[in-house]
Symmetry: C2
Subunit: 753 residues, 2 copies
């Protein structure tokens, strides 16, 4: 006898059943194992069914429920936007204060930072309220004073860094329990990481906090709890808002999302949500206005000259080349350090490593005094406005160039070391710092050449009046930053938008574009992948990197798992016992189904199989609820685990193993009882959205299907009705990262053989 | 005997063959019939093959050819950007001059516009060089002067409009021959259309010209000529550049492309190309600087107050509601007029209609003097800066409100009439005009309420000092424009970005977002589609509108053409004769292939079938080249057209009908000769990238597959190996537009029954 798992297929007239179907779906607690990939096609289908169930409600409910559904999503998006904007402002205030107490304290209140402490002074008046630690302790001796300052500076950095690493590590343990308290602890850890002076950027922490917030807000509503598709949309919007706050650039946030998150590209709605979240976050940040400057952008570019000259393209393209080369170098160095960390004992002491790195970074930056340097690099020299860090002293050009190149070199090493440590870190800001140093240095070189040879043919296009500035070293710093970012991240459009919002001058967008493009080309020639892609490859995350794959004429047949290697369920042939066996022995996400002639019938997931078996089983229990539990157990074995003649303990079947939770037992339909030797009709458990292709399809096309277009979890290959093979997303990720020598070197599970 | 069409499958070691394969592909002149849809999957595959052939060249060629390939694409993108930027500037100058000579001429040169004519004057000095026509002709009589002015104003409008319609109509005839001359004629026609004063925007013409330019530039390189995929990328970039120039907003252009063109969403590269083209176009426009103001944006917003008050959300949300209602009204009116035009005799006299519309528009705008009104609506009143059109006169508030509402009403009617006439028209600018009038009116109402009750609780948040402005009517105009745009186009993010770039103030982005969102919601409730979607539905263009489709539980089975209705080729069964018959009788783009057991084998296109037959045929001719042409003809019929016993003239087979062009004969491979009664082995003609699904997939999912994800031309449905049906893109377009009562009412072919 062929027993059936019959879920009634929802039809428009059958609303009662649909609601039950929905309830069942809601109860479906999916447990994703670490590193498993999510089947978006399936999740989208689940979301669709849920939304359909809401829409097909009669009367007012049918109109109201979908509106409520949409309203809840907007509540989460808007709350996340406001939250991350306020958090960003709070982070700024906290970081500024933490950074300042490394040097001194305010005389009339410990919790004022140096700016707040010295506010209200007239121009030229000297601020006496802000005291360095040696002033505070009345230390007169020059040597003792220097020692105390350095000691406090470095030890606070070490304490901040260590605490941050400790908090983050604890946070990871509590990850499953994401309460507001945990979020606060985490956010504090992130602020400490930034304040420790480590060579890392706040955009990483901010994106992280934004996603935590969105997750937290979305937990309030049931609709997000069991659906990865809607959760992903909200998280994508949150990531955009995080970038928006980090750079004060709402459009930059949206375009970052477009370039790096494929969730954006697939739907205009998601982009719109991301934009709303970004804009609200930026407005919230501006409203708090942490430093009273009303400025949003990180580094204001001041006194930019209106025009640039064609000859400047030569140093700018050179900066692009430098960015490409140095970017590749940072990536390679970073990879080597990460692998060394993993293979040596360093990886076992993450907090110690952070503490050590904080100490080294603090010592170096105390010597070189880089802390406020970067922001000054983008300023143009203006005789009326004082001398930024001595950068504008025309007599110290050589020293300045040397200092800038040295700083860049130190930051290269520190950044390559820091990115990948057990603190949340963004790569954008340190990269901007390196690039700005080098760009400013090139600008100073150009300026000094111009000063010594103002009439050379090279500078013919400069204005004849030497008092008018011809070279703007501040803009060279922008170009340098753009080049380094291009070399390290290999992104294009969002870099240009973020830097364009820094300068604000449309005429300067062309040089920025050219240098980013040059850096990307040079970088791609030296090493194919950007730093994000490299880390995804090393961690073997199930995420398709945004690289352009080009095959050598291979087809899908070369990458697919052939039918002989697949675990296949035979519709109408496989028995319940064999099915349980299969589920126990293999932890695959799903199984192709063929009929008795070997024709491909469909694909079924582990989840729906378990649900089907579990439902049958629990109905059986209900029918026998009157009996004692011991006799129940006997019935159960009778039912499913009829011992085969000879090996009685072959199948170990414990309650809960196959999703047999009590709540499923509330489901009430007329199911047939099956015994373990029954054969199964799979027709109702088949997934509806499984894509089939011919194995002759080219690999490049296949990768496109997975990446840009369809985002399925697997694709089935058939020929003339026969199953020929299957490719999963994991196979494609491995294919895309196989050229990279260290692929999967940091993965938790070993790389595939 | 089973004869085969064996194209050798390209393998990495077989480079010579590949190049030939490529040559063959290049010769493949696809003829798309009007309204047919392009199979992007197939085109992408062709592009991939071509790119692969270039990459697999040995040595330097292998490195150089792909670089050249990419360089050519960038040349086209950059040239288009520069071209459209210059064309935009030229259009501005021309339109300004054409507009001015409707009122007068410059005393010292006919080709100066009023601004250039009066330049160089001191402040307050009166410009005597610019003479109205009555001044020029020394007409003193008040009545005669007014009559002359009105006569010249209206007749020039009529002449411009008529000439434009005539030029555009001629342009359509010359469409196949897109020479620089045609482009110039077309651009001139577009300038005349704008200058005629018709209620249309220049962004439509600019996008059109940009695409013409890109097409023209791409024709210079062979790589674009035969590949729709790369052509489409370049055209998408050009469209973005066109929008960028029209609104002076490079980011707005890119986001417009993202929202309306699916080419952008699928690939980051395309977005980057679009951004580069947009930025270059904007820089080129700024460089020409047609009016010496160095301003890029269309309407500068001046003297915007820094903050807005929460109570202002009430009028702003009301404006959003008005925008949604009025937007739907414009769409409905526009549709009714378009259908009347088609059904009545009006459609047969397109030039006359344009002439009449120009006359009416000119007469009305001469009376109401709207020409410079719109730009002034966004200005804030500033006592030191004169009175914009009397808008700032506090004693004439009632008159102003009446005038504004009247103007808006007239523009609503004119716009609904004009959009769809035989002139290229953009809907953005007239919509902005309507919205700005209404917004300013609401702003004036608010202002007058505030002036009469400054101490009401409603205005508590206003500054107590009455000399400080509390209500900014100029910003109300922006909100009104945003609302109307939201109601008419149902776009979101690009509207906000374009209007955000107008105001430049981040704090004002929230009200703009809220009003756009309100207008979209209200509009969607009144009528589901934006005006672009409606026109696509009416024209039955094979383009999937960006609407969210929601099924009622139907599956693909309800929309697919079932296997019994399909024309199917049987692999190994169908003979050459039957194949030729099929190709002659059905003009389908392709055919599913099944084997003799009815199992689905694959899908083949008309093109590859014709190519295969044609190649066989022409090889046959080559082998018999020595013979006379009459004997050739005999051989040919022998070869393919062996008359069936009984009906000798059943198959009419003329040269060229099946792609039998001479150049294909340069192809040299060893093909087997086939006779018409041979059966065919289809294996080499099958498409590799045909997606198969089960017919149980939901319609919503299916629409998603076509729309966002895969963009294929057709999807095949199978069950257990058997072909069950097929869905084409056309079916999905019809499905998406079926709810619209006037779908396909303007299509060239009749709607499906």
């Amino acid at each position: 006898m062929v027993a059936g798992f019959r879920h009634s297929t929802p039809g428009p007239s059958d609303q009662y059943n649909q609601l039950h179907e929905y309830e069942l779906t809601a109860h479906r607690e999916l447990k994703y194992t670490d590193g498993s990939s999510i089947d978006w096609l399936q999740e989208e289908a689940a979301e669709r069914e849920r939304s359909h169930a809401l829409h097909s409600q009669a009367g007012v409910r049918g109109a109201l429920l979908p509106a409520l559904d949409s309203a809840r999503m907007w509540i989460v998006v808007i709350a996340t936007g406001i939250g991350i904007g306020l958090a960003g402002a709070w982070l700024d205030v906290l970081v500024k204060w933490l950074g300042d107490i490394r040097e001194g304290r305010c005389a009339y209140g410990f919790f004022y930072n140096s700016v707040a402490c010295c506010s209200g002074l007239d121009a030229g008046e000297f601020c006496v309220e802000w005291q360095t630690w040696s002033q505070y302790f009345h230390i007169k001796s020059m040597f003792a004073s220097s020692f105390l300052q350095a000691f406090v500076y470095i030890s606070l950095a070490v304490i901040f860094g260590g605490t941050s690493a400790f908090l983050i590590l604890s946070g990871y343990v509590f990850d499953a329990f994401l309460s507001p308290w945990t979020l606060l602890i985490k956010a504090l850890g992130l602020a400490l990481a930034v304040a420790s002076g480590l060579s890392l950027g706040k955009e990483g922490p901010l994106v992280h906090v934004a996603c935590c917030m969105a997750y937290l807000f979305s937990r309030m509503f049931k609709q997000f709890r069991h659906n990865e598709a809607s959760k992903r949309r909200v998280l994508a919007a949150a990531a955009a808002a995080g970038v928006s706050v980090a750079f004060g650039s709402p459009l930059g946030g949206v375009l970052f999302g477009l370039e790096e998150l494929d969730a954006f590209a697939s739907e205009t709605d998601v982009m719109w949500q991301g934009f709303v979240a970004s804009a609200i976050a930026a407005v919230a940040l501006q409203w708090v206005n942490p430093f009273g400057t009303a400025k949003l952008v990180l580094f204001q570019v001041t006194a930019l000259s209106d025009t640039w000259r064609a000859f400047e393209l030569i140093p700018w393209i050179s900066l692009g080349v430098i960015g490409g080369v140095l970017g590749s170098l940072i990536i390679r160095l970073n990879v080597e350090i990460a692998i060394y960390r993993r293979q040596s004992a360093v990886g076992e002491w993450p907090v110690l490593e952070v503490v050590f790195a904080s100490g080294v970074t603090a010592a170096l930056s105390y010597l070189v005094q880089t802390s406020e340097l970067v922001a000054n690099l983008f300023q143009e020299c203006d005789p009326t406005k004082g001398d930024y860090h001595g950068l504008c002293n025309p007599n110290a050009t050589k020293e300045n160039i040397f200092l800038l190149v040295l700083t860049a070199f130190i930051k290269v090493v520190l950044t390559a070391w820091t990115f990948g440590m057990m603190v949340p870190a963004g790569i954008f800001l340190p990269t901007i710092g390196i690039g700005a140093c080098l760009g400013r240095a090139v600008g100073l070189v150009m300026q000094s050449i111009y000063r010594s040879h103002p009439t050379a043919w090279f500078f013919q296009s400069c204005p004849p009046d030497p008092s008018v500035r011809c070279i703007s070293p501040g803009f060279y710093a922008i170009i340098g930053a753009a080049s380094m970012l291009g070399g390290v991240t290999r992104m294009t459009i969002s870099l240009v938008v973020i830097l364009f919002e820094l300068t604000g001058a449309l005429s300067h967008v062309l040089p920025i574009m050219i240098s980013v493009m040059t850096a990307k080309w040079v970088g791609d020639a030296l090493g194919k992948d950007g730093i994000y892609t490299v880390w995804i490859a090393m961690r073997r995350y199930p995420w398709l990197p945004p690289v352009h794959y080009r095959d050598q004429g291979e087809t899908a047949a070369h990458v697919m798992r052939s039918v002989s290697d697949l675990v296949v369920i035979k519709d109408g042939v496989t028995t319940v016992r064999e099915l349980l066996d299969t589920l126990r022995q293999h932890d695959y996400h799903g199984f192709p189904v063929i009929d008795k002639h070997g024709e491909y019938v469909g694909y079924t997931t582990r989840d729906s199989l378990q649900l089907a078996i579990g439902t049958c089983f629990c109905l059986f229990i209900k029918r026998h609820a009157a009996r004692s539990s011991s006799s129940l157990a006997a019935e159960r074995s009778l039912m499913f685990l009829l011992p085969p003649p000879g090996s009685s303990d072959e199948i170990h079947f414990t309650e809960g193993a196959y999703g047999l939770e009590d709540k499923i037992c509330t489901f009430s339909k007329n199911y047939m009882l099956v015994s373990a030797s029954n054969r199964i009709d799979m027709s109702s458990t088949l997934e509806t959205t499984i894509i089939q292709l011919r194995k002759e399809v080219s690999q490049e096309m296949l990768v496109s299907m997975f990446k840009k277009w369809c985002n399925p979890r697997q694709i089935i290959f058939t020929h003339a009705g026969k199953l020929t093979g299957m490719v999963t997303k994991r196979d494609i990720v491995d294919l895309l990262t196989q050229h990279f020598p260290h692929a999967a070197s940091l993965a938790r599970e070993p790389p595939p053989t």
